[in-house]
């Protein structure tokens, strides 16, 4: 029977994990331990619902409701002096509970603090664009759409940014294989030569580590070597390899200088 591989997450997985292994946690601390973060959180709590907040690795993480995001970022920019949106992207939890986790990395240069605003959305749900608040979100949201297929409501130009415009599929989803899917393997063939040339050309080899032993151009065909450029039929005779050990290795176990003789001719 073939081993079961889950289809909802096709990324690399550890091939062995101890049964009793319990992963340690990165320590979290209470928001009250930091004055600046505590007052910022109070200001956010006064106007919006905060689901969870804690400090991890010197930064505060705040979970909010998805529809509050524009308001929260506006409050942070205008009143709390978080003037820069450093980063914005998503984490794919579709395999776990069919949600995406969106995070907004904020920076306050006056307070020298960083806050990460987070919320969960269902698969297929769109986020509210914050492009009007921070222009940097223009490209970030496009990248998020490109990589995860999460659309941003109110974005002026919701198009792919890194992948080609006519690409299908969203590469950073956990369901998307590292080597690309069926569409990816035919994309360039279809585009350059047309679908009718598919049989003649074959799919694009997207696994760079793949070795085709009948490819005399890119791989020395171990045991079936042919001169470069020769037509390969697949029925070449095997080139017999021989090793010097096959005839027995000559070893001197005990050297007796009197009975042994010195050979002058190095070629024997």
């Amino acid at each position: 029977m073939r081993a079961y591989t889950p289809k909802d997450n096709v990324q690399a997985k550890s091939y062995y994990t101890d049964r009793y292994y319990v992963a340690p946690q990165v320590p979290k601390s209470e928001v009250e331990t930091d004055e600046v973060f505590a007052s910022d959180l109070e200001a956010i709590k006064a106007k919006f619902e905060v689901k969870e907040a804690f400090i991890q690795v010197e930064q505060m993480i705040v979970y909010i409701n998805p529809h509050d995001i524009y308001g929260v970022l506006e409050l942070m920019r205008d009143e709390l002096e978080y003037t820069q949106l450093s980063e914005l992207s998503a984490i794919d939890w579709l395999a776990k509970n069919n949600t995406f986790e969106i995070f907004y990395q904020m920076l306050s240069m006056k307070k020298r603090k960083r806050i990460r605003i987070k919320y969960f959305i269902e698969n297929g749900q769109a986020v509210d664009s914050v492009e009007k608040l921070f222009r940097s979100a223009d490209w970030s949201e496009r990248e998020m759409y490109d990589m995860f297929g999460i659309e941003a409501n109110g974005h002026p130009f919701m198009k792919r940014i890194l992948m080609p415009y006519d690409w299908q599929g969203h590469p950073l989803l956990k369901t998307y294989p590292l080597q690309g899917d069926e569409f990816a393997s035919w994309y360039e063939v279809d585009k350059i030569y047309g679908k009718e040339a598919r049989e003649e050309i074959g799919p694009e080899i997207r696994d760079t580590a793949r070795v085709d032993r009948y490819d005399s151009e890119r791989f020395a065909r171990l045991g079936f070597e042919v001169p470069k450029g020769t037509e390969i039929t697949g029925e070449e005779e095997r080139n017999v390899e021989s090793y010097q050990e096959e005839e027995g290795v000559f070893l001197i176990k005990k050297l007796n200088k009197e009975t042994s003789k010195v050979i002058d001719d190095p070629q024997r």
Binding site: Q11, A12, K13, S14, Y15, Y16, T17, A23, P24, Q25, V26, K28, Q56, V57, Q59, I61, T83, Q84, L85, S86, E87, S89, I91, D92, F103, Q105, L107, M109, R112, R114, R116, F134, R135, S136, D138, W139, M147, R160, I161, L162, M163, P164, P171, L172, Y176, L178, I192, Y193, G194, A197, E200, I201
Partner: protein
């Protein structure tokens, strides 16, 4: 195989005229020498003036974030070299620091000093490269030759250290793999002693050069608001009136022990950015002199450790691996299966030569990161061209792209 006719249409119509208005659409790149890589700009022109700019990126997209999710942590290190390949150690360092913060590792002091040396050498290399290419774009061939000559010395030093000139992979999670070679400090001092005179040479050629000033002054003005809104960092932000340097404000490694200034300007234009790059080279030299002293102190005190002691995450020194069974076993597990950082999240920003280089890692306790987001400064420095270019003329495009200092390995990742 027989020749198969392709269906790519000949693409010599670079300019379209089929519109009613006077607007002309010019396709700049992606194979333009002054696009500094694979940047395609669609420029809407009224006469010579740009009214709308649409940067198109993605021609160098290799899916590094996807690759990171399928690699163990140490395996990903050489991949980070290919982000900002002009200063690759700074990428190595950003990633190593993020994983160290996730684990909670403390790196030995000697390794920290060596890391700082590498980072500042990389900053100098990057700034010299920037100066050379930008000056060449504007037409100053001499500066290009001078700056590349100096960069060559630095590359030689780095080559002596790690064997590579461009993609260093010179930093490991938990420290550095090697001590600096015997000739390192002498070579570095030799270089640093000559550097002020060299920088003066560049400045003599450029500072009062009429052509340079015309192409730089009052061109590509980025107001503070716009720079903040677009997520600009590094020299781009400092030239727009915000004195923000992560080395100073959120010090990592031993940057709180060294003395250096943060050059900034409120002129906001291309020339301000040029001045900041020049001043930063001087500051880097200052830091490097201090790290040499710090290194000598480490040697005097007999601090020889280069990698953190954390058997769960970092392999033991070579001597232990070759002599002790348990170290060998742990090394084997770390190489084949990889380290397993704790469950949690971290975002770590470092000051790379281009700006804020951030690594966001979400670990679920496995040997592969669950999600890794690379925050590359050049991505937003390219995005800002949308708002920056309108109102400028075609020749300004070249000088503006030059001073934004974008590297496409980093933009497309």
């Amino acid at each position: 195989m027989a020749q198969i006719k392709n269906r790519l249409t000949p693409f010599f119509e670079n300019i379209t005229f089929d519109r009613d208005d006077n607007e002309l659409i010019l396709n700049f790149g992606p194979q333009h020498p002054s696009a500094h890589g694979q940047l395609r700009l669609m420029l809407h022109l009224q006469q010579e003036m740009i009214v709308k700019a649409h940067p198109d990126v993605g021609y160098l997209h290799r899916g590094m974030e996807k690759m990171a999710e399928n690699m163990i942590y140490n395996e990903f290190m050489p991949t980070t070299d290919r982000m900002d390949y002009i200063a690759s150690s700074s990428n190595n360092y950003g990633f190593a620091l993020a994983v160290e913060k996730l684990i909670g590792l403390e790196v030995p002091r000697r390794a920290k000093v060596i890391r700082m040396m590498l980072l500042e050498i990389n900053r100098l290399m990057s700034h010299l490269f920037w100066l050379a290419t930008t000056a060449l774009d504007i037409g100053a061939m001499t500066v290009f030759l001078f700056a590349f000559r100096e960069r060559e010395y630095l590359m030689d030093i780095i080559e002596g250290y790690c064997g590579a000139r461009l993609t260093h992979a010179a930093i490991r999670i938990g420290g550095v793999p090697l001590d600096i070679q015997d000739t390192f400090i002498a070579q570095l001092k030799d270089f640093l002693d000559k550097l002020p005179a060299n920088i003066k040479d560049y400045e003599d050629l450029l500072d009062t050069n009429r052509i340079w000033l015309m192409r730089m002054e009052e061109v590509g003005t980025i107001p503070t608001e716009m720079a903040l809104s677009w997520g600009c960092t590094g020299p781009m932000l400092r030239a727009s009136g915000v004195a923000w340097d992560i080395r100073k404000e959120e010090p990592y490694e031993l940057y709180d022990e060294v003395e250096f200034n943060v050059p900034w300007s409120d002129k906001c234009d291309n020339f301000a950015r040029y001045r900041i790059y020049m001043e930063e080279m001087r500051e880097s030299a200052k830091i490097l002199y201090q790290t040499i002293d710090m290194y000598n102190e480490c040697v005097e005190k007999g601090e020889t450790e280069l990698m953190a002691h954390a058997p769960k995450y970092v392999s033991a020194p070579k001597l232990d691996i070759m002599t002790q069974n348990y170290s060998l076993m742990q090394h084997f597990v770390l190489v084949t299966q990889g380290m397993r950082p704790p469950v949690g999240e971290v975002y770590v920003a470092t000051e790379s030569p281009k700006g804020e280089l951030g690594f966001f890692i979400n670990s679920q306790g496995g040997p592969y990161p669950y999600r890794l987001k690379l925050r590359a400064p050049s991505f937003w420095h390219t995005g800002i061209l949308t708002d920056l270019l309108p109102g400028h003329y075609i020749p300004d495009v070249v000088s503006i792209i030059g001073t934004t200092n974008i590297v496409f390995g980093e933009v497309d990742r």
